[in-house]
């Protein structure tokens, strides 16, 4: 930095805050600027299907203008430090869905005419949640449908991860941004010396997995195994599948497709729920031990098997399905719910209360850290179990020193404390959200039972998507009042950013110099 520039920069800081808001906005602006290019995808589809192109062009233009405007207004404020990072992440994830929701409004889609509903749908897209206010997705323009799927794909791996891979200026400070977006409690392991190269490799893998899924699904369609699966559906479900999103092109979600499609989707979701850094080591660097030797991976599989097994038992006891169907639906719902995808192979709201309870609990498990899935995540459950085990040991042996290890390496005590803080905050916010929904339902005269309210809050905070009751897999979040929709939107946002980067912003010490 040139010495003479420093004082003038300082005087620009409004109100002597400890956070350089201008610099944060500058970075947000440069992210948004590039987002405008994403609108080219639905524009192409609209051209192909002969649908109106202008909603995407206008939205793209607006996005570019906002981005360029932000950058211009905050010219020269490029130094983003640790503190600004939190603000950048939080603002990006508020602003991007707002701009990304423009096509829904501009296309004059009656189901999304309400601005809050459109924003909810867009946030649900970018956060890869999969909750929808649409009651009939099949009447939407194809271009609008593919945009919906594409937002999930963009948000799944992370807008900022993409930006780090592309933007040269994020060489410094990018690590922390990446850490906040590519969620997980433990220190990010590097795939490469530079953070930029790491981000690039993650995206490379992400694109590769998506392409593989498109091929498999399309092959299932072409080969006649599942006549319902066309190329459009293959692409659309690959976008939302690898992103662990859950949006579908059909009102009946994946139930509209055959058994072969459902099994293929399960397989890809299971893979997408594994830590991408480890997947890269497995697929690209050919180090199978990176995955098989990982304690989190083993517990992840264990949880999936346990969830599937429990559901299977309950389905057999209930006599709902027969033979292969029992296994398929049990496995599909367990995998889809636990990894926080939100596809459905059947309407599970018709299942027993015990099955419903199992699914609700699976929503709290989540996928692996460093995957595109949400919720608490398997590694945190693992660490909490280890912390509890240690506490019990130390009540008997007071002086015993027990470092906690994960796959053989010691976990920093700070990271352990942050895991406990995260889970506590997660449950607190869930409780507040659910209570808020119930109170608002009373005011707005929406009929909702406590279990469904908790389910909806958990499904949004965990970025799962479909919940129970009217918000079930074949239903919609449409009956919720505007206020409730707003609460749920907030939960999705908090859940995607793993709460702490957002909560930091409302503390006084954050803003102090």
């Amino acid at each position: 930095m040139i010495a003479g520039v420093a004082p003038s920069r300082r005087s620009l800081r409004p109100g002597r805050l400890g956070v350089d808001v201008g610099a944060a906005l500058n970075l947000v602006g440069s992210f948004v600027r590039y987002l405008s290019l994403a609108f080219l995808v639905p524009t192409g589809v609209a051209l192909g299907y002969g649908e109106p192109v202008w909603p995407f062009l206008v939205a793209g233009g607006t996005t570019a203008a906002v981005g360029v405007g932000l950058v211009a207004l905050t010219e020269g404020r490029q130094r983003v430090g640790l503190r600004e990072g939190f603000l950048v992440i939080s603002l990006t994830w508020l602003l991007v869905p707002a701009l990304g929701g423009l096509p829904y409004v501009l296309a004059d889609e009656p189901q999304l005419a309400n601005l809050i509903d459109a924003y909810f749908e867009s946030v649900s897209g970018f956060t890869a949640t999969g909750a929808t206010v649409l009651t009939d997705v099949e009447t939407l323009d194809r271009s609008l449908v593919i945009w919906r799927q594409f937002t999930q794909w963009l948000g799944g791996m992370g807008i900022v991860v993409l930006a780090i891979a592309v933007l040269p200026r994020l060489r410094v400070g990018g690590r922390q941004l990446l850490q906040s977006e590519l969620a997980g409690p433990t220190e990010l392991e590097r795939l490469s010396v530079t953070i930029r190269e790491t981000a690039r490799r993650l995206w490379f893998l992400y694109v590769g997995l998506t392409a593989a899924m498109v091929l498999v699904l399309a092959a299932i369609g072409w080969s006649g195994l599942d006549p319902a699966m066309g190329f459009f559906d293959a692409v659309a479900h690959s976008f939302s599948g690898i992103a662990i999103g859950g949006f579908s092109t059909r009102n009946d979600s994946v139930a509209a497709f055959g058994a072969a499609t459902q099994w293929a989707i399960v397989a890809f979701i299971v893979v997408a729920g594994v830590n991408f850094l480890r997947l890269y080591r497995l697929f690209v660097q050919r180090q199978p031990r990176a995955v098989t030797g990982d304690e989190e991976f083993r517990l992840y599989l264990g949880f999936l098997l346990l969830g599937s097994g429990l559901l299977m038992l309950e389905l057999v006891a209930g006599g709902v399905f027969a033979g292969e169907e029992t296994v398929r639906h049990a496995v599909f719902q367990a995998v889809s719910t636990m990894t926080t995808t939100g596809f459905s192979s059947t309407d599970y709201t018709q299942w027993s209360a015990l099955a419903g309870m199992t699914l609700l609990l699976l929503m709290f498990v989540g996928a692996s850290a460093g995957s595109t899935g949400g919720s608490i995540k398997v590694v945190r459950h693992l660490l909490i179990a280890k912390i509890v085990h240690r506490e019990i040991k130390q009540t008997v042996h007071r002086e015993l020193v027990v470092p906690i290890r994960l796959s053989g390496s010691v976990v920093d005590e700070r990271a352990l404390r942050s895991v406990i803080a995260f889970v506590a905050l997660y449950l607190l916010i869930l409780a507040l959200g659910a209570v808020g929904l119930v109170i608002d339902a009373k005011r707005a005269a929406t009929e909702i039972v406590a279990f469904d309210a908790i389910g909806a809050a958990a499904a949004c905070l965990g970025n799962v998507g479909p919940a129970f009751g009217f918000a079930g897999p074949l239903g919609s979040y449409e009956p919720f009042s505007n206020l409730s929709t707003g609460i749920l939107t907030g939960l999705m946002w908090l859940g995607r950013l793993e709460i702490i980067p957002v909560v930091v912003l409302v503390t006084r010490s954050y803003w102090r110099p």
Binding site: H397, R398, E399, L400, V401, V402, P403, R405, G408, V410
Partner: protein, 430 residues
């Protein structure tokens, strides 16, 4: 000091040290050249006449100085062999990987750890040395004062029952060493040095140590470098190891480094803690804390709580006797242990390995028999009986524990027990 004691008779020695008081004390005791200065300085090394020397031993208290001195010496005197002493085991690993250009690295931590593990591994044994890749063991045993006379103890050696494949090399009674002729006998309170196969050594151990099995529940007090090295060696032998460390940060580091051990953050002086954790039920306790006083106090404390066997690592060679008198079963001095290793290497290059016993009164030599040796071809019963004894012969892959009819052949490796003063004679005879 111990090294000088062992080497001064056969070699002319120059000592470099930064402490003039220590140097003058040495010069008073031994006929050596002394030089005040830093061993890692090229000028000091040149002044000491490094160019013409055969052997350079770097054994100051600082690892890095020793390594620099060793590397410098290797450059300044290409013909000399260099020995470097370090505490840190890591340097030893580096040397094993040939990344360090010296002839020999001895880690005092590792040597101490090994010495302790040997003592624990074989009950009643004071010292065990391994020869010929484990084919031959040399073990020094204490015979308890209240040991019962029987088939072995108290009977003339020519009639006594002695485990197969072993030989009594020497009997030490008080300050006297007894050449084990047929008419001598092992008496209670003696110290016996035995050479034999590993099975025979174990049998001797059972004989003197009663029915005690291998120790596998050990407490290590002090999580310093030595404590960690000891714990690591014991963990390798699949012992159950508990470590007590007073410093919280250090305890954490130790716990991270040794996943197999249970680490406690506590002082060894806390009787409540020792009671609560039932440390008294351990089979052995090892004291590696940085202060001799604390070690002695803690050792006495755990003895009161019922630990039957205590080993202390003592810094000052003079403390060894104090500790053993005060009731600590064995006191180990890292410098003495290391000195043994260094002296072993400093001897004739034909000597592959050598053990020092009783300070430096006796040595065990591992030496290859020359073709023109006067002893080749003679049956053992005709060899003269002196203070030296051939305990075992290694021929090819086999160890032979010779009897009267066996003969020495050229190329044999002989494991010989001898008085230190006779080392030279033995070397010449073979």
């Amino acid at each position: 000091m111990t090294i000088i004691e062992a080497l001064h008779e056969e070699h002319s020695i120059a000592v470099i040290d930064t402490d003039p008081v220590r140097l003058s004390a040495l010069a008073y005791r031994y006929d050596i050249m002394t030089l005040e200065g830093n061993g890692a300085s090229r000028r000091a090394l040149r002044e000491a006449g490094i160019a013409g020397c055969d052997l350079v031993i770097a054994c100051t208290s600082r690892d890095e100085v020793n390594i620099v001195a060793g590397i410098l010496a290797k450059r300044l005197a290409p013909g000399a062999r260099t020995i470097v002493r370090t505490r840190n085991v890591e340097y030893l690993e580096v040397w094993h990987e040939r990344q360090l250009d010296v002839d020999m690295v001895v880690s005092s931590e590792l040597e101490t750890a090994n010495a302790i593990a040997r003592i624990i591994g074989l009950p009643a044994a004071r010292q065990t040395d391994v020869f010929a890749e484990g084919l031959v063991l040399m073990v020094e045993f204490d015979v308890a004062r209240d040991a019962l006379r029987g088939e072995t103890i108290g009977r003339e050696l020519r009639d006594a029952v002695i485990p197969k494949n072993s030989k009594v090399a020497s009997i030490i009674r008080g300050d006297r060493m007894i050449v084990p002729r047929g008419e001598e006998s092992i008496e209670p309170g003696d110290r016996v040095i035995v050479i034999g196969s590993p099975e025979a050594a174990r049998e001797w151990g059972r004989m003197f140590g009663g029915e005690r099995r291998r120790t596998d529940d050990v407490v290590v007090f002090g999580g310093g470098a030595t404590g960690v090295a000891v714990a690591r060696v014991l963990l390798d032998q699949e012992a159950r190891v508990r470590i007590v460390e007073a410093d919280e940060e250090r305890a954490r580091v130790v716990a991270e480094e040794l996943p197999g051990a249970r680490v406690f953050h506590a002082t060894g002086m806390d009787a409540d803690f020792i009671e609560r954790e039932r440390l008294g039920s351990s089979e052995a306790a090892i004291f590696t804390m940085p202060s001799d006083e604390r070690n002695l106090y803690a050792a006495t404390l755990v003895k009161l709580h019922g630990v039957p066997f205590t080993i202390a690592v003592v810094d000052d060679p003079a403390s060894v006797a104090v500790f053993e008198r005060a009731g600590v079963d064995v006191a180990v001095n890292p410098r003495m242990v290391t000195a043994e290793e260094i002296v072993r290497f400093a001897h004739d290059p034909r000597i592959r390995q050598m053990a020092m016993l009783e300070g430096d009164r006796f040595e065990i030599l591992d030496i290859v028999v020359r073709e023109d040796s006067e002893l080749v071809g003679k049956p053992f019963r005709d060899l003269p009986m002196t203070g030296s004894l051939i305990g075992a012969i290694v021929r090819g892959e086999q160890a032979i524990f010779p009897h009267g009819d066996d003969r020495l052949e050229p190329g044999d490796r002989a494991i010989i027990f001898t008085e230190a003063a006779r080392v030279h004679q033995v070397e010449q005879a073979l």
